[in-house]
């Protein structure tokens, strides 16, 4: 079967791999720059939460595509990628499946995804250990955990002694190579947040050799009885028309997927994109946890999951150890921060950790997407923030509950220093075309036969915490069933 996959991020990677293994001819259409195209810079800044991976070529996603979108966006800051490999070049590499609670309202049974999760851990190195998260999330990991910092070990030991209902704590599941018999792994250089210099953090940049790769940006899909036709433009703006694809799998990311489908009149001209509210919470470590260990790693070290209980919403926290770029961050955030000497800042920051909290997509502000009638061919989207009136209250109660728990493990959160990201900055967004509601279980928008959306657009819910693992597993499931 001739199949086109649009997009080369994690979901595109997962779908392409599955289709090739099933013996189909796959064409990947992606507008992404590849490293040789780009001139690296380490001065460019486009976002306050993800401005860090700028040293080892991972700044590609932030570079402007020659004819990139000019968004009319207000109160939102969605992060785009125009690079081969998508946002997996700059991600925090967290890979946690959805739990039962997250999929309560799905019309798809979560157990349908179990075998895809298992297949993925064979293909991608995922670190982890049997701990407090295993009962809720299952043991989906294929490598030993990266050695956590000494403070994290002591926090986990203390947490073991505390009985706290509805709270799970465990080592982070990360898509990082920690070494097997044949390959070496993480060397604890602590440069994770700048992009791994050894390429041990997994990304989907290296597409499968069997797939044909076209560097085009899709403008329109035309569905007919014989298959799907694709209209696209190349880097120079020259239009191309690609015919005779029996199926198209759309994995371009929720905003780009919406633009393509709305321009093709497959879906309506406006939609609501759900986003997981993200906030940044500095945490003081009490002296009995000891000093910061000099060698550790920079990605998230610990997951704390707060389950839904009678009046409180579900949320998830990821704990990060002290790293050098916190100093620059603190300088920007503090009033007159630039005047404080580095040594004094470091003295305080070494006694701190950072927690990044995520709320459930249902309890967070969302993004209103609208296709402009009079826009140009590619710059025709308008994004607006759609506020959620209880946002601050929900975050406050969640932090209160989190503090109550971690205080007994030797951590003291500082809620007055909380920074809340604007919608889109947390990069956990999607769910504008939920399966079982606006599309069928194979990601086909109503009325469409051969166009399958496989990215985060079709997830019925945005869970607190990482969504990539489920997006990839779902893309794999749809790819398998679409060609049956």
């Amino acid at each position: 079967m001739e199949i086109a996959v649009i997009g080369s991020g994690p979901s595109g990677w997962s779908a392409t791999r599955t289709l090739i293994e099933l013996g189909h001819a796959v064409t990947v259409i992606d507008s992404g720059l590849i490293e040789s195209d780009a001139i690296r810079t380490n001065t460019e800044k486009t976002s306050s939460t993800l401005n860090r991976k700028l040293y080892f070529g991972s700044d590609l996603p932030y570079r402007h595509f020659p004819f990139g979108p000019t968004l009319n966006s207000r109160e939102v800051n969605p992060i785009f990628s125009f690079a081969r490999g998508g946002l997996s070049l700059v991600w925090g590499a967290t890979m946690l499946p959805y739990c039962k609670e997250d999929t309560a309202c799905w019309s798809l049974d979560i157990s349908a995804l179990q075998k895809n999760y298992l297949e993925l851990i064979k293909q991608i190195p995922i670190t982890g250990a049997a701990d407090g998260l295993s009962a809720t999330y299952g043991n989906f990991y294929s490598r030993r955990a990266i050695l956590p910092s000494s403070r994290i070990v002591r926090i986990l030991e203390k947490a073991k002694e505390i009985e706290f209902p509805q709270i799970q704590i465990g080592l982070s599941r990360l898509a990082v190579e920690t070494g097997t018999q044949d390959v070496t792994g993480c060397v604890y250089c602590k440069k994770c947040l700048n992009g791994c210099p050894f390429n041990f953090i997994w990304n989907s940049k290296d597409l499968h050799r069997e797939a044909k790769y076209l560097k085009l940006r899709v403008t329109k899909l035309i569905e007919s009885a014989s298959g799907v036709e694709i209209d696209a433009v190349d880097v120079h703006g020259k239009p191309h028309n690609l015919k005779h694809f029996e199926k198209v799998l759309l994995a371009a990311g929720p905003i780009e997927s919406f633009r393509i489908l709305a321009s093709s009149k497959v879906v309506e001209g406006s939609a609501v994109l759900k986003d997981s509210a993200t906030f940044f919470l500095p945490v003081l470590t009490l002296p009995n946890l000891g000093n910061m260990h000099h060698n550790s790693f920079g990605l998230s070290q610990l997951f704390v999951r707060l389950n839904k209980s009678n009046s409180q919403v579900a949320s998830q926290y990821q704990l990060y150890e002290y790293s050098e770029d916190l100093v620059a961050r603190a300088k920007n955030a503090l009033p007159l921060g630039a005047l404080i000497p580095d040594t004094i800042l470091k003295f305080f920051l070494k006694r701190m950790m950072v927690a990044i909290g995520y709320l459930d997509g249902a309890d967070s502000p969302s993004i209103q997407m609208k296709l402009l009638e009079n826009g140009s061919l590619l710059s025709n989207l308008e994004l607006n923030g759609k506020s959620y009136k209880d946002r601050n209250k929900v975050i406050k109660t969640s932090i209160k509950r989190f503090s109550k728990f971690v205080r007994r493990c030797g951590l003291l959160p500082l809620p007055f220093l909380t920074q809340i990201a604007v919608p889109g900055e947390g990069v956990h967004f999607g769910s504008w075309l939920p399966m079982g509601d606006k599309s069928d279980l194979l990601g086909r928008p109503i009325g469409s036969q051969n166009i399958h959306v496989v990215d985060s657009s079709v997830l019925p819910t945005i869970a607190p915490g990482p969504i990539t693992f489920t997006v990839m597993a779902n893309a794999m499931r749809i790819a398998e069933e679409a060609v049956k």
Binding site: A129, L147, P148, S150, E157, G179, Q181, T184, V187, N288
Partner: protein, 261 residues
């Protein structure tokens, strides 16, 4: 395979001998006080027709230099496959005599057709060594001093995991150092609590700062160099560095989590 085992009278040695004969090898025990074939510092007998040598023996009353010399003699007199049982306290910045000599011997073995396994604190039933010494200390002391600020992290290895890993390494390539412990470390104070809990010892414990403990141990080891227990405690208090652990080879076996019963 005919495999010689030095230090075979120790608990690990005894367990290893039975493991070797279970897996079809012929173990030849070396060492022990009554043994007249081999002692630390002796050459390996050449008339035994050996295929491999496993070096477990370590004399704590030796200095670093004497330990290195004994290992060199052993390595030079036997040219076949060799395995050395090293320790997590063996690394380039180690301050204890134990760690320093293990680290040096590791290099000698890896350079002469040998490989090494770095074990953590070995536990299991009836184990000697650091674990037993800690148990002894906790039993004898009226008040247990626990390091308060940042107690060091320890890697734990069960004796059965360790011996089966050694037997497996007989067929592996040379020049490798293998990481032989459960990858999740535990803190020293947690270990003390666990020992107290399991043996239902009801002492009071006091928390002391780690730095004074380290300094006093360093002073003690300088003035009482022939007192092995001080050196063992010192080797416990110096953590293995993560950068070095990452260079080590990780076996397929996931070692069991620390649980004493």
């Amino acid at each position: 395979m005919r495999v010689a085992v030095t230090g075979s009278t120790s608990v690990i040695g005894q367990r290893l001998l039975s493991k070797l004969s279970d897996s079809g090898h012929t173990p030849i025990p070396f060492g022990g006080s009554e043994s007249n074939i081999w002692r630390i510092g002796h050459r390996c007998p050449s008339n035994l027709d050996l295929d491999a040598l496993i070096h477990l023996a370590h004399d704590r009353s030796f200095t670093v230099h004497e330990n290195i010399e004994a290992a060199t003699i052993l390595c030079e007199s036997f040219k076949g496959k060799k395995i050395f049982l090293s320790s997590f306290s063996a690394h380039s910045e180690s301050i204890s005599i134990y760690g320093q000599s293990k680290y040096a011997i590791e290099t000698i073995f890896n350079n002469s057709y040998g490989s090494s396994i770095r074990a953590g604190v070995v536990y299991g039933d009836n184990v000697e060594g650091i674990f037993a010494q800690m148990k002894f200390l906790i039993r004898k002391l009226p008040i247990v001093p626990l390091p308060y600020r940042g107690s060091p992290l320890l890697f734990m290895t069960h004796i059965d995991d360790l011996t089966s890993e050694i037997v497996k390494n007989l067929n592996k390539s040379e020049g490798l150092t293998t990481f032989g412990a459960h990858p999740m470390p535990i803190s020293l104070s947690n270990l003390c609590f666990q020992i107290q809990k399991v043996y239902s010892l009801k002492q009071r414990s006091i928390s002391i700062w780690r730095q004074p403990l380290d300094v006093s141990l360093r002073l003690l080891v300088r003035f009482l160099p022939n007192f092995p227990m001080v050196d063992s405690l010192l080797s416990l208090s110096c953590e293995a560095s993560y950068e070095e652990l990452s260079k080590l080879n990780m076996p397929e076996t996931i070692f069991r989590v620390f649980e004493i019963n």
